[in-house]
Subunit: 398 residues, 2 copies
Amino acid sequence: MSIQSVYRKELFDIPSDILYLDGNSLGPLPKGAVERASQVIKSEWGGELIKAWNSADWISLPKKVGDQIAPIIGAPAGSVATGDTLSIKVYQALAAALKMRPDRKIIVSDNGNFPTDLYMAQGLIGTIDKGYELRTPAPEDVADSITDDVAVVMLTQVDYRSGRMHDMSEITRKAHEAGAVMIWDLAHSAGAVPLDLAGCNAEFAVGCTYKYLNGGPGAPAFIYVRPDIIEDIQPALAGWMGHDAPFAMELDYRPAMTTERMRVGTPPIVQLSILQEALKAWEGVEMEDLRAASIALSELFIREVEQRCPQLSLASPRDPDSRGSQVSFAFDHGYPAMQALIERGVIGDFRAPNIMRFGFTPLYLNEGNVVAAAKIIEDVINHDLWQNPKYQIKSRVT
Amino acid sequence: MSIQSVYRKELFDIPSDILYLDGNSLGPLPKGAVERASQVIKSEWGGELIKAWNSADWISLPKKVGDQIAPIIGAPAGSVATGDTLSIKVYQALAAALKMRPDRKIIVSDNGNFPTDLYMAQGLIGTIDKGYELRTPAPEDVADSITDDVAVVMLTQVDYRSGRMHDMSEITRKAHEAGAVMIWDLAHSAGAVPLDLAGCNAEFAVGCTYKYLNGGPGAPAFIYVRPDIIEDIQPALAGWMGHDAPFAMELDYRPAMTTERMRVGTPPIVQLSILQEALKAWEGVEMEDLRAASIALSELFIREVEQRCPQLSLASPRDPDSRGSQVSFAFDHGYPAMQALIERGVIGDFRAPNIMRFGFTPLYLNEGNVVAAAKIIEDVINHDLWQNPKYQIKSRVT
């Protein structure tokens, strides 16, 4: 069966006593990562020193990793640059997009966007200081907010709290009809749902690789630029690694004629190498099969939890077609309840004010795991185990 | 003897057949790095998964590493933020500095600055698009270029090619007299020369950690902000990790009241951990002792090379007080000569158009190494070994 074809838990090192429903926040350790990191650190850095930029081909690593990400997000080879953090990539995309519509001043996002995207937009607006306006309607009002004076529409496809999913092709079409530039943040999409960036025709997409792509804590981000516009992009973050000839040491910036112009500084070789290793897990994965498995798992989870715990109310869309690869439940005691679950090996996470969030990652989760997790949730909720005072203390990262 | 007190080669893993005179480009492998990376990847990421942000205290790592860097650059604890690349940190500092002088439009740098600093300035100028002007006089003309209409003076203290060193305190004083904001790039200074950021009173400093600080390829950068101005800084790159309450998920950016406001996105935990390990090598190092050792090594190198190879002409200041921790020689056949040296185990690097550059790093180099390297240089130059056709082919990274 095709759904089984994506299950490959043997490629990951996951503690046997953990039911990990948080791969949408930090993916688990791919088995090859430790060895690969050791090799890069000990043999390449330690043994080759500066020569490794050539001998170990570090210099090509950002492009190679971009080319591994491209098929997962429905993008052509050569259209994805890697490096930096997602926040930085948001800034790059937005700054470039605004330059493409010099006569317009409005940026449309939504109030379900991940905050850093909005913060980066606010920082850019403050830097340019020419009266740009960031509008954040409710997600369901975005389509109607795309008026003919909008410069850029910048949205995260899958809501980080609820899992609600925007229709990429429909909103992109609407943005283009209004003459706006489209930017998609794929943080909760890449490796979670099938994507057709080339088909939807959006100008920019950005994303991170430590969630569904399992690149490790603080793994580098990526940016996609539609190939037909790359030569006209004016990079705000005009770093030497995006220069057409970085080692010519010219005094003036002259951008590379490819997506590489979206690179900035010296790439994080160790983390990029781990990411490259992690992306091997995607070889042979058909995204449609992955999506079918994801829906099967999340539907099963909703059924099981709703039957067992009427106190929890579904905070994700009930229609799987409108939902990414996560399921959230609202519960007023969500914070201590999540701590109690984590202590029992069911790892999800909490998002203020009352969201218990669970991610479904068919590469290493199966139906048995989902039922087992639901039973533990039932135990914690129905026996009020979350009332234990030790679960009330808020840690810094929640 | 105090110079000996800084020599600690036993802390590094350097191939025995290599004389490494390129620690100013990529520092060598600290012995603890492999084990530390393995622990972070296998035990923390693999074993703790998302919980490691708290249980392994990943969340505090950027600040802890900043506090390790602070004493090396003469800055108080709490004044240094880490993350991103040096290019990004240049952009942050410059954008913030320009906001501090809204009525001025001139940025003074110099034509010896590392190109990415100039490129980032050009990118920022293009983004703001309000007539800012970047002036790049010759390094020796910088002081006279700081007129009363200059907004920001942005310089790299030690020239990446020649090793020529600006007088930080004198130029900062001059900048402040003219009402300008001062930014120092310490890429070739941090871990190389004694620095007194607090004393020189500059508003900003930035630097990288993969050179003299031995943080590994693509290690995170740092930024210093003078503590008395941090609360007024308007971050251009307003990422969630610089927010006062990153996990409150507020819709509006509200910067942290500390240097942490210069952070942007999710930190690269693996590379930061390696850097943290690498910085242990600096415990007990007195920077004045290191500087004395560096001068002794570089003076010896100049004497030895000049005696042996009259074909090479010194391209660094002869006065050690005007020179960082590197020595450069100009040689028309510098590129193939450097390839020939590298094949013989003497690793320096080449910088266009004709510079052979050698770095002196007293943590793991001694006088015997310097003499041995000079003898091999003599062999390559005086026997024209660089004429071998195989050394003429330019690799991508030179």
